[in-house]
Amino acid sequence: MLLELRSVSRRFGGLQAVADLTMTVASGSIHGLIGPNGAGKSTVFNLITGVIPLTAGEILFKRERISGLRPSDVCRRGVARTFQATALFREYTVLQNVLVGAHLLAAPGLVPALAWSGAYRECERRAHERGRALLASLGLGAVASQVAGQLPHRDQKALALAMALATGAELVILDEPLAGLADQEKAETTAVLRRLREQGITVLLVEHDMRAVMGVCDIVTVLDHGVRIAEGTPREIQTNAAVIEAYLGVEEPGA
């Protein structure tokens, strides 16, 4: 059990965005989080990564409390994420973006940087190597020197994933990794996710493309109006009455 949410709640003024949510993510799995629009999925991600504080409950990662930590400390524990609106450092090149992601693994400190010491240069050289390897594994090797803001959508999404992976995280939380991708690109991305699982990296994702979700996830949790209404294997979810009702009450979200 890698990630554990215990009775997590989040209230915004009068709105209960997440209500008493309990769920667990098993190590080495691909875990899907689905639900109609407004179900609170992105809020859950923000709670896990420390972007917003909990109103109640706690979140544990590797059996240690991470709720209440600032996002950089959550990342330090081994949790990285992407954002729904692809968030990159648009003025930087692709490689520079990944190098920022490698911050935790490569930060030699202020004094070595000032002194341009051998240790610092070595640290950076290794960060470069790892960065390039990571980019290559995600099909971005050719665009390493391109400015991130000018990349096509598919590459931007791949870059966001690369940045999250560069942190060395054991759990990557992906907010709509397939949004805006063509079918072929979606297949490539899900293949990447399976490869991550083989490498021992756990994936928690939010997605609206039901087919993809059911195809790649081991476990799926369903939220509606901030409440967990179902959890189980894709097969179990697809035949769950409460889930079907939750989705029938809402317009079909575009895949």
Partner: protein, 335 residues
């Protein structure tokens, strides 16, 4: 902006060498007291604008930067005149006092961001200025100012009575400062600073403790400002609270922004160009301010990223795809 180690160290090294060479050559060209004074002022402003720019590179527009110069200045002035310490000790102590006070002030200011950070640091700077102006007149001199600050004492047998010697002192200090900031900017430090400026939430979720980063630049910048302040106190030998108020602070901002805050070289260009411009315009008296103001407006409208970005903009302008008129049939006369 920040970059990876990949970029060769050649360009920044050349830049620093150029600045050091220019600083070294100047006294050979002139011993005129006026020119040395201008040059010393440029070098002093350089350290201030570069340290200011360090903070801007993380997205902080710190209007209290000049206050830390003042803190260093008053600290050293008092320690030398009242406690009999040597300038060579107070140079560091003054800077450290500034850095020390920067920790709580910065921590408080960093609770807000954007225009609110700008405003709260401005408020801090006014509080500090008014403090030096109106309170403890016995110590700080009140509205009449603090006078009688001695020049630096002997060091290694060298006296620092002349403008030339003080120029050399400032030149050494500023070259070291430039070197340090250039190194930082080209290192991972600069890379992270730029990342924070572009998308601080993303940087935070990638493991960068944005608050600690910004505070580090705040304290480091304040240390350098304090250093400049100590020199200022013993160079001018008189201190007045208006030396650390809105007007000089605004000039620092102008130098940095006109030069271009996107690059570590921006403040260098901006400080030199604008100081020279204001000296040239000085003859015009009232017109000086008018022209200066017009220059600001025009530069911001036509070169919003600063002078340092002009060469790139010009290059892009020249390389832009041009529309070709269709070739006329028959005689090949160009349209």
């Amino acid at each position: 902006m920040g970059s990876s180690v990949e970029r060769s160290a050649a360009a920044p090294a050349a830049g620093v060498a150029l600045i050091a060479a220019a600083a070294a050559v100047l006294p050979l060209l002139t011993r005129d007291s006026y020119y040395l004074d201008v040059a010393t002022t440029i070098l002093m402003n350089l350290t201030l604008t570069m340290s200011f720019r360090l903070q801007v590179s993380t997205g902080q527009i710190n209007m209290a930067h000049i206050s830390f110069m003042g803190i260093g200045a008053y600290a050293s002035a008092l320690l030398v005149t009242r406690a009999g310490l040597s300038f060579w000790a107070t140079l560091w102590i003054g800077a450290l006092v500034a850095a020390f006070l920067a920790v709580p002030i910065g921590s408080v200011a960093l609770r807000v961001s954007g225009p609110y950070y700008f405003l709260i640091t401005f408020a801090f700077s006014e509080v500090v200025r008014l403090f030096f102006n109106n309170f403890f007149e016995g110590l700080f001199g009140g509205p009449s100012g603090l006078v009688g600050i001695p020049k630096p004492g002997r060091l290694l047998g060298v006296t620092f009575d002349s403008k030339l010697a003080l120029y050399w002192l400032m030149a050494v200090i500023s070259v070291v400062v430039v070197l340090a900031f250039v190194r930082l900017d080209y290192s991972r430090f600069g890379l992270t600073a730029g990342a924070i400026r572009q998308a601080d939430l993303v940087a935070e979720t990638l493991g960068v403790n944005v608050f600690r980063y910004k505070l580090t630049t705040f304290v480091l910048g304040s240390f350098v400002a304090g250093l400049a302040g100590v020199f200022f106190a013993h160079y001018r030998q008189v201190l007045h609270s208006s030396d650390f108020g809105l007007e000089p602070m605004v000039l620092l901002v102008v130098f940095a922004v006109i030069g271009g805050t996107g690059s570590v070289w921006g403040p260098v260009v901006g400080t030199i160009v604008m100081t020279l411009a204001s000296e040239l315009l000085r003859e015009l008296h009232h017109y000086e301010i008018l022209v200066f103001g017009a220059v600001l407006i025009l530069t911001m409208l036509f070169a919003p990223e600063g002078l340092v970005a002009l060469p790139g903009a010009v290059r892009r302008f020249l390389r832009r795809p041009r529309r070709r008129a269709p070739a006329p049939t028959g005689a090949g006369l160009a349209p």
